[in-house]
């Protein structure tokens, strides 16, 4: 028992040490000066920074950044799984703009005395707020407000798809669909659907992007199936995808919702190119249900 006691005593030792934790982290050094060397890891944040005209000041970006082309040429700093702290330190940045999912990276950077600005970008309101916040911190508040208004206007509610139930699947591989990843509630896709007057067929899902089976698709019988892909889909691939669904659903029930495909590297990023996705969705969902697979591939 004496051993256990000794162990317990040792266990108390780190307490004072741990108690100090957080204190230096939570008070980032207030630096009034406009940051000159900025790190952005997430594609959405990077796109916002470039849209605000801060592109010249962005010195390094995350592995997943594809757009704009100038950003794609910046030094790479790893992804969420394998952030490269050393590479970040080498760039001697004075500001890192991160998402809440990058909290672990943020903590490390703060300890290295690098200022971190955290913005959210899951909802449309988040996006507008992020634009304003970044604009303010980087001394371009006017441009920030302007971009915010632009976005607000471009994403204004319309009723192209009024009353239709829509299922959005993301990155579905070719072939007969057995299980698919769908956009659930709380996602920006859900919000975009609402603004178009449509209803998300999986509004009540428990996860943001739940994996669902074909059975569920039948149960919900959506009016439209909308596939979203990062990779540009050829007309042939689009036809193939429509054929996949037709076959899967025909064999099980007399359900034949039109299948629309939207593709492009902008289609999965909740950034300043969302209006483009919004327009594409409006166009894809606007066609009357009776019409044959119309303009399946939308490229505004």
């Amino acid at each position: 028992m004496r051993r256990l006691l000794a162990l317990l005593l040792l266990a108390i030792l780190p307490l004072p040490l741990a108690c100090t934790e957080g204190a230096p982290e939570e008070i980032p050094k207030a630096r009034a000066a406009a940051p000159a060397r900025i790190l952005t890891l997430a594609p959405s944040v990077t796109e916002i920074a470039f849209a605000l005209g801060l592109g010249d000041r962005v010195v390094g970006v995350g592995d997943y950044v594809l757009w704009p082309p100038e950003a794609a040429g910046r030094p790479r700093l790893g992804g969420l799984i394998n952030p490269n702290l050393e590479a970040m330190v080498r760039l001697e940045p004075d500001l890192a703009i991160l998402l809440p999912s990058e909290e672990d990276i943020a903590r490390s950077l703060r300890r290295l005395n690098i200022e971190v600005l955290t913005v959210e970008s899951e909802s449309l309101a988040d996006l507008e707020a992020a634009v304003v916040t970044i604009g303010r911190r980087c001394s371009v508040p006017a441009r920030g407000a302007e971009l915010k208004d632009e976005l607000h206007e471009a994403l204004a509610p319309r009723d192209d798809a009024a009353g239709r139930s829509v299922m959005i699947t993301l990155g579905r591989p070719l072939g007969r669909p057995a299980e698919v990843l769908v956009a659930g509630p709380g996602t920006f896709y859900n919000e975009l659907l609402e603004r178009l007057g449509a209803a998300n067929a999986f509004q009540d899902a428990r996860a943001l992007y739940p994996q669902i089976s074909l059975e569920q698709v039948l149960a919900r019988s959506p009016d439209v199936i909308l596939e979203i892909h990062t990779d540009e889909q050829s007309a042939q691939q689009v036809a193939q995808r429509q054929e996949d669904w037709a076959e899967a659903l025909r064999s099980l029930a007399a359900l034949a919702p039109p299948v629309r495909v939207i593709s492009g590297d902008w289609a999965l990023i909740p950034g300043p190119r969302l209006p483009r996705l919004y327009r594409a969705m409006a166009e894809a969902l606007a066609a009357p249900p009776s019409s044959k697979p119309g303009p399946a591939k939308v490229s505004p």
């Binding site: 040792l10 307490l15 790893g78 799984i81 490269n84 050393e86 330190v89 809440p100 996860a207």
Partner: protein, 329 residues
């Protein structure tokens, strides 16, 4: 199976190697550091060296050593070469704790411990208590029953981890996935300092139990007849190792197979007496993990491979080799 190298000399070599690794491994990385720049006081190089690489190598040295010592203790305690924190479900239990903590993500701390660390301890303790309890119910063949109980606990915890990941949003899932791969990237010395008392405390208890562990080598019944309180010994060692493993998992995630490979190799070199084996494990486990981590920084440069993946890649084949080819001698 007796010692083929003078144990004292080997310990001395390991001790020297430990320090050599501490000061050379930090120079290795995606980009090799230039000593002259460090010397001339270039702030960026200094930050990388002192704030990123030295703490990281220190963490590897401490964590690796403790994992090896914990594995060694389990192998002796349960008379099974395949027992280690990972196979007995202790590391996975701690991982489950952390995943739950990430999912529920309560802000702040609990008695000075961050929630993730606290959950990690709790998970490690709960898993070892469960494994121990299950094995205790069936007194016969403690070793193999225990390993089976460990595997069952491991699988259940893994399933729960996957379930929780499924329920979580992508942000949390990413953190969990990253964290379950095991990684040693730290900034500054806070984690290292935080780990020290736990690891020292646990190692101290193990060192004090070295005689009892030796006695177990000739069988539990003989050990008991010589005056060893077996139940107390098991509880003491499980408590000490749970604390060590829980602390390591809280900081670095579950890193597997160090506790399997290192004690096994060292046993062939310096024999099974714990007086020598335990310090050798503490030193060599650390050296091994630090070298693995250095390799993990280099092989995919500029990207970094999480070290848990590398040790698992080495450990899997070793595990198989142990099962199928080792028995022959």
């Amino acid at each position: 199976m007796s010692a083929s190298i003078c144990p004292r000399r080997l310990l001395l070599w390991l001790f020297a190697a430990w320090f050599v690794v501490l000061f050379t491994a930090p120079l290795i990385g995606g980009q090799t550091l230039d000593f002259r720049e460090l010397w001339s006081g270039d702030p960026t190089t200094a930050t990388i060296f002192w704030q990123l690489r030295i703490p990281r190598v220190l963490l590897a040295l401490l964590a690796g050593g403790s994992l090896a010592a914990a594995g060694m203790s389990y192998q002796t305690l349960f008379r099974n070469d395949l027992a280690e924190p990972y196979t007995l479900g202790v590391a996975v239990g701690a991982a489950l704790g952390v995943v739950i903590a990430i999912r529920l993500a309560p802000a702040g701390s609990f008695f000075g411990l961050s929630w993730t660390s606290f959950a990690s301890f709790l998970g490690a303790l709960a898993a070892s208590a469960l494994v121990f309890g299950l094995a205790q119910r069936r007194r016969s063949a403690v070793g193999s029953t225990l390993l089976l109980a460990g595997i069952a606990v491991s699988l259940s915890c893994t399933a729960l981890i996957l379930f929780i990941q499924y329920l979580s949003d992508s942000t949390q899932t990413f953190r969990m996935v990253r964290w379950t791969m095991g990684g040693l990237a730290v900034v500054g010395y806070r984690e290292v300092l935080w780990l020290l008392p736990w690891l020292f405390g646990g190692s101290f208890v193990l060192v004090r139990s070295r005689w009892e562990l030796d006695l177990l080598l000739t069988g539990e019944e003989l050990a008991a007849s010589r005056g060893v309180d077996l139940v107390r010994l098991r509880l003491t060692i499980l408590a000490a190792t749970s604390v060590m493993v829980g602390a390591i998992v809280a900081v670095a995630g579950p890193i597997g197979f160090v506790g399997l490979m290192i004690p096994h190799i060292l046993r062939r070199w310096i024999g099974p007496t714990h007086r020598f084996l335990l310090p050798a494990c503490l030193l060599a486990g650390g050296i091994f993990l630090a070298l693995c981590d250095s390799a993990a920084r280099v092989v995919m440069a500029p990207a970094e491979l999480p070290v848990g993946i590398l040790t698992a890649l080495l450990g899997g084949p070793f595990f198989l080799w142990l099962i199928f080819f080792e028995r022959s001698d």
